[in-house]
Amino acid sequence: MTASRLRRLRLSVTVPVVVAGLMAAVGTAASVSVLERLRGNQQAELQRLIDGIGGSLSAALGAHVAQHDVWSTYDLIDSVMAGQQQLPPSFVMAIDDSGLILASSRPLDFPVGTAPPADVVGRLALPDIALDDTEAVVGRLIPMVQDGRQVGQLAIAFNTGPFVAERREVLATLIAVNAALTLAMAGLGYAVVCRMVAPAAGFLRRIEDAVGDDLRPVASTDIAAAPREFADLYRRFNAVVAAAREREHLADQLAREEKAALMGRLAAAMAHEVNNPLGGLLNAVDTLDRHGARSDVRDEGIAILRRGLTGIRDVVVGMLVAWRRDDGGAWLTAAAIDDLKALIGPQARRKALGVDWRNGLDRPLALPAGTVRQVALNLLINAANAAPVGGTVSLDCALDGPDLVIAVGDDGPGLPAAWQRFLADAGTSPALPDPGALGLWTVRALVGREGGRIAAEVSTAGTVVTVRFAAREEIRHDAA
C-alpha cells in the first residue's frame, strides 16, 4: 500500500494498519533474534554432546580398540546409545588403527571390517560444526589413545533434524503468537481510534450538512460534552458558521442592491431610449401637421413614427419583463426564456452585439421559472459584458432527457480560471474571485439551491457556460 493510498484511508483503518505493520516488524525482528539465539544454544548443546559422549567413549573404548575386541567395543557403544534416548547420536563408529570399522552403532550401514564411507569421514573432519536450516549429519573424528599410542579414531555424528524441527516449531509458535498479538493490537487500535474520532465523525456530518446549505452551529451542550480538542474545534466551527451566515446575508443584500441598480440602469436606459426618439417623433408630428398633405412627407413621417414607436414598445416590453414578479413555483415555459431576449436587447444594441438565440423548450418544465430566468439573465448580462463590441452572444436552451440545459456563450477573451473553478466547485464555498461581481455568485448560489450543475468551457472562440437543471417531475397536460 503506498503512502498516498494510506493517507486516503480512514483514520480508524490507517492506525490499526500502521499498528499491525509495526507489530509485524517488531515481531519479525524479535523472532529472528530468538531463532538466532536458539540456533546458537543448539550449536553449543550439540558441541557439548559431541564432546561429552565422544570424549568419554573414546577414553573407554581405547583398550577394546587396542585389543581389536569387536564385541566389547560394540557392547559399550550400544549401551551408551541406549542411554541417549532423548537425543541419541546418529551413529558412533570405532575405527581401528588400520582405518577399518571395528564396530559401530549401525552395523548394517557400517559393517565390521570395512572402510568407513569417505564422504562420511570427510564430513566429520570439517573443522566447524554449523547448524543451518536443512537437515544434515554433523560430528567429529576423535582420536583414541591407549598407553600413549593412537589406536584408532572414534567417529560420532548427530542428525541435526531434531534441532531444525525444534527451530521450526519455535518459528511456528512465534508466528502464531505474533499474529495473534498483531491482530489483537490492530483490533484494539481500531476500537480506540473509533472512540477517539467519534466526535470528528459527528463534526464531519455537520460539514456534510453544510454542503447542502444547512450550515448549523454545534449546540453548546455538545461542545460541553466533547473532548477539549474537539470543543475548541466546535467553537471555531461555530465562528465559521456565523461568518458564513453573515457573508451570505451580505451577499443577498448586495444581490438585491445589484438588482435594484440593474433596474435603475434599465430605467435610465429606457428613459434614454424613449426620450431620444421622442424628440424625433414630435418633429415628425409637427412635419405631418404642416405638410401632411404631401404624400412623400406623410409617408416618411409615418415611417419615422412607426420606428420610433416600435423602439419605445421594445423598451416598454423589456421593462415589463424585468419587473415581472417572480412567479414562485410557476413552471418554466419557452416564453419565459424568450422574454430574456428583450432584456438583453438594449445592451446588445449598445455594443452592436449579434444575438444567437436558440430556444428548444417545447413544453413546460417543473422548474421555478423565476430562478431559471434569473440564472440565464445573469449569464447573458455577463456574456454581453465579456463580448467585444460587434461580437456575438448566444443562448442555447435545450432538453436533454428530463434535464434542462442552458448554454450561454460569448466570443470574449474567456472566463478567468478562478471564475471557472468558482462555478464548477459545487461542494464547497470557495472565495469570490471578484467581490464586486455578484452576477456569477448569484448564478452559482441559485443553481446550487436547485441541485443543478454548472460547467464553464473556455476556448479560443470564447466562453460557454452550461447550466443543467433536473426537472423535478413530469407535468401532466391537464394541469398545464
Partner: protein
C-alpha cells in the same frame, strides 16, 4: 592359526591357568560371603547366567540344600572360570563340555541337566534375517560371531565343521570375533554386527521365549549333532569334600522340592542327572579332530 578378533582361542596351559586364577581371586563375586565361609560356585554363559531371577533362585536352591551360604562367581570368559576351578578356588562350576574334555583327567562330573528329555544339546548356526542361508557353505565371507574360544557349541563345533571342509574360521569367514556369551552372539547377529554366528541351541530356544525380538531378527541356518549338555564339574581332588558332593546331590535332587521345581521350570530343564565321562566322548572326538587339523 589366524586369531579371531577379541579372543584368545588357545589351549589352556598351566602357566596361564595360574595367572588367570590369581587375577580372578582379586575379582568380586556375585554375592559377598556372610560370616561362614561360603561355597563358591562358578557360572559361565552355558545358561543365561546374567538373569537376576536365575541367580537368586539357583543360589537359594543350593543354600537350602547345603545349609551353607553360596557365592556365585562369574567371569567374562570360560577360561577365567576354568582357571579358578582348576586352581581350587571354586568348589564347583557349571562349565562347557569342551573345557571339560580338555581337563577331564582332573575333573569329576557332578550333574548335568536333562533338557527336553535328554541330557544333550545342539549347536546352532544362526544368521541375520537379511542374510539368507541354508547351510554352513552359505556363510562363506560372512562376519561371524563366536561365543567363546572354550565353548563347544559356540566355537568348537563350527570349527570342526570347517575343518572337515578343509577350512579354518580365518580362511572361510571374512571376519570373526568372540562375544563371550551365547546371548551376545545372538545380539550381534540380530543387530547386524555379525552376519552369522555360532550359538548354543538351548540358549536360542530360551531366548525365543523370553526375548523374541532378538531371535526374530535372525534365523537358524543349521543345527549340529547332539552333544553332552554342559555339566557341573569339580576338581577330582576335592570330591571328598562334603560341600562338593553336596552340590551334585542338591542339583540332582531339585525336582524333589517346590523351589527346586520352580528353578527347573525357570531353566526349562526336566531335572539334573549324574553322567559319566563317556557322555562327552563326541566332544572329545571332534576336539581331537580339530587339533589334528591345526
Amino acid at each position: 592359526m589366524p586369531r579371531p578378533r577379541g579372543g584368545m582361542p588357545t589351549r589352556l596351559t598351566r602357566r596361564r591357568l595360574l595367572a588367570a586364577g590369581a587375577l580372578a581371586t582379586a575379582g568380586v563375586g556375585v554375592r559377598p560371603a556372610r560370616g561362614e565361609s561360603p561355597i563358591r560356585f562358578g557360572l559361565t554363559p552355558v545358561v543365561l547366567d546374567s538373569d537376576r531371577q536365575f541367580q537368586a533362585d539357583f543360589r537359594g536352591a543350593l543354600e537350602r540344600a547345603l545349609a551353607q551360604p553360596v557365592e556365585l562367581v562369574q567371569r567374562r570368559s570360560y577360561q577365567e572360570i576354568m582357571a579358578l576351578l582348576l586352581s581350587g578356588q571354586l568348589h564347583a562350576a557349571w562349565i562347557c563340555g569342551y573345557p571339560y574334555v580338555q581337563y577331564a583327567s582332573r575333573l569329576s562330573l557332578l550333574a548335568v541337566p536333562v533338557y527336553r528329555g535328554q541330557p544333550l544339546y545342539q549347536s546352532y548356526l544362526v544368521a541375520n534375517r537379511a542374510r539368507p542361508a541354508a547351510a554352513l557353505e552359505d556363510l562363506r565371507g560372512h562376519v561371524h560371531a563366536f561365543s567363546d574360544p572354550d565353548s563347544n557349541s559356540g566355537y568348537l563345533v563350527t570349527r570342526y565343521l570347517l575343518a572337515r571342509m578343509g577350512e579354518t574360521p580365518a580362511s572361510f569367514f571374512r571376519e570373526t570375533f568372540f562375544t563371550y556369551g551365547h546371548r551376545n552372539v545372538i545380539r550381534a547377529v540380530a543387530a547386524g554386527l555379525a552376519d552369522s554366528g555360532s550359538a548354543e541351541g538351548y540358549v536360542w530356544d530360551v531366548l525365543s521365549e523370553i526375548e523374541p525380538q532378538l531371535t526374530q531378527a535372525c534365523h537358524v541356518v543349521s543345527r549340529s549333532d547332539w552333544f553332552g549338555f554342559p555339566p557341573v564339574a569339580a576338581l577330582s581332588t576335592r570330591m571328598h569334600e562334603p560341600a562338593v558332593r553336596g552340590i551334585g546331590d542338591a542339583l540332582t535332587g531339585l525336582e524333589g522340592s517346590d523351589a527346586g521345581r520352580r528353578l527347573l521350570d525357570l531353566l526349562r530343564f526336566d531335572r539334573f542327572v549324574a553322567v559319566g565321562p563317556e557322555h562327552y566322548a563326541r566332544i572329545a572326538e571332534i576336539s581331537r579332530f580339530v587339533e589334528m587339523q591345526s
